[in-house]
């Protein structure tokens, strides 16, 4: 009887110890992107990456990818009154501004109806098209572009 009790107590102790140790080990292994800084500690600010200077068409990685914006867009407003992007990318302006015309697909609404101007679904250009900063990726990425765009 006594021996049983002793055994149970020892087993419990071992389990607790192992649990505590692996807990510590796990806490060391699991790191967030913030690094090992405690939640309430002061984190070191990441390096500020600059917007890439104006350039030309950037490579696409898959067929339906919205092309990246190869230029700065600071201060460009897209709201009820104005769409700064369209002052260069509209079909009427593209020729003299040397910008790419907005894609024909952007004139089609969700029912497949062809409209006479950019579809409301496509009005907010920066929902899909984004400029690039000169920043290193936070995690490695093994994505490989399909052959068709390589």
């Amino acid at each position: 009887m006594k021996i049983r009790l002793w055994l149970i107590m020892w087993a419990a102790l071992v389990i607790v110890a192992v649990g505590a140790w692996s807990g510590v080990a796990m806490a060391e292994e699991v790191r967030t992107l913030r690094g090992a800084v405690p939640l309430d500690g002061a984190d070191q600010a990441p390096e500020m990456a600059k917007w890439m200077p104006d350039s030309h068409t950037l490579p696409r990685n898959y067929l339906q990818q919205p092309p990246l914006i190869p230029h700065q867009i600071d201060g460009y407003k897209i709201d009820l009154r104005q769409n700064k992007c369209m002052t260069c990318h509209s079909w009427a302006k593209a020729k003299e501004t040397h910008a790419t015309k907005v894609s024909l697909t952007h004139f089609r609404n969700r029912f497949g109806t062809e409209l006479s101007d950019v579809s409301p679904q496509r009005y907010f250009c920066t929902q899909c098209h984004v400029p690039q900063r000169d920043a290193k990726p936070l995690v490695e990425n093994s994505f490989r572009p399909v052959d068709a765009v390589r």
Partner: protein, 192 residues
């Protein structure tokens, strides 16, 4: 004889006094004039009217002329009041019209402001167009611009635009405030 001799210097003296008085008044007037011009030529004065503060000022605070890498700020009078005094006086006299409309409450609600905004903006555009964007050029002179160090689009547009006699405001509308509602194709003067 002696009387004449006596009188001459006295009138001479009083002439000087009068002249001196005028001079003094002139200085006072000129000083006051300058003081008045200076006192009405800063941002604090402009935004002392809520019509200016609640709309245009708020928008301007989010733009490059309020906050930028070089730390040089363009304030309201820099863009809206000419520097050369003969032009400045004209603008100041025009500005008394603003006082009248302040009194009438022409744009004293956001709705009224939006209602008149297109008209006000068009006034500013045509004023800038007629002076070849003089106030912009007080700070930015295209002769001092190093095009090669600008972005490739700026380079391209400036080179082609200036050779076609375009001026800053043709292409840079809405640089400091939101654009008004209801602009038409005729308002877009950027074609070149």
């Amino acid at each position: 004889m002696s009387q004449d001799q006596d009188r001459a210097p006295r009138s001479f003296r009083s002439q000087w006094k009068i002249l001196g008085g005028f001079f003094f008044l002139g200085v006072l007037f000129w000083g006051g004039f300058h003081w008045a011009l200076a006192a009405t030529n800063n941002e604090t004065f402009c935004i002392s009217c809520h019509e200016m503060k609640d709309n245009v000022y708020k928008e301007y605070r989010e733009t490059v002329h309020y906050y930028n890498p070089s730390g040089v700020r363009a304030t309201c009078p820099d863009c809206h009041v000419p520097k050369a005094w003969q032009h400045m006086i004209v603008r100041k006299i025009q500005a008394s019209n603003e006082l009248w409309h302040k009194f009438k409450g022409t744009i004293d609600t956001p709705e009224k402001f939006e209602g008149k905004r297109l008209e006000l903006a068009r006034n500013v555009w045509s004023a800038m167009k007629s002076t070849d964007s003089r106030e912009c050029r007080n700070c930015h002179d295209f002769k001092s611009m190093d095009f090669t160090r600008q972005g490739s689009r700026a380079f391209d547009f400036h080179e082609r635009g200036f050779s076609k006699d375009k001026t800053c405001i043709d292409c840079h509308k809405g640089i400091a405030h939101s654009l008004p509602k209801g602009m038409t194709a005729a308002d877009d003067t950027s074609h070149f």
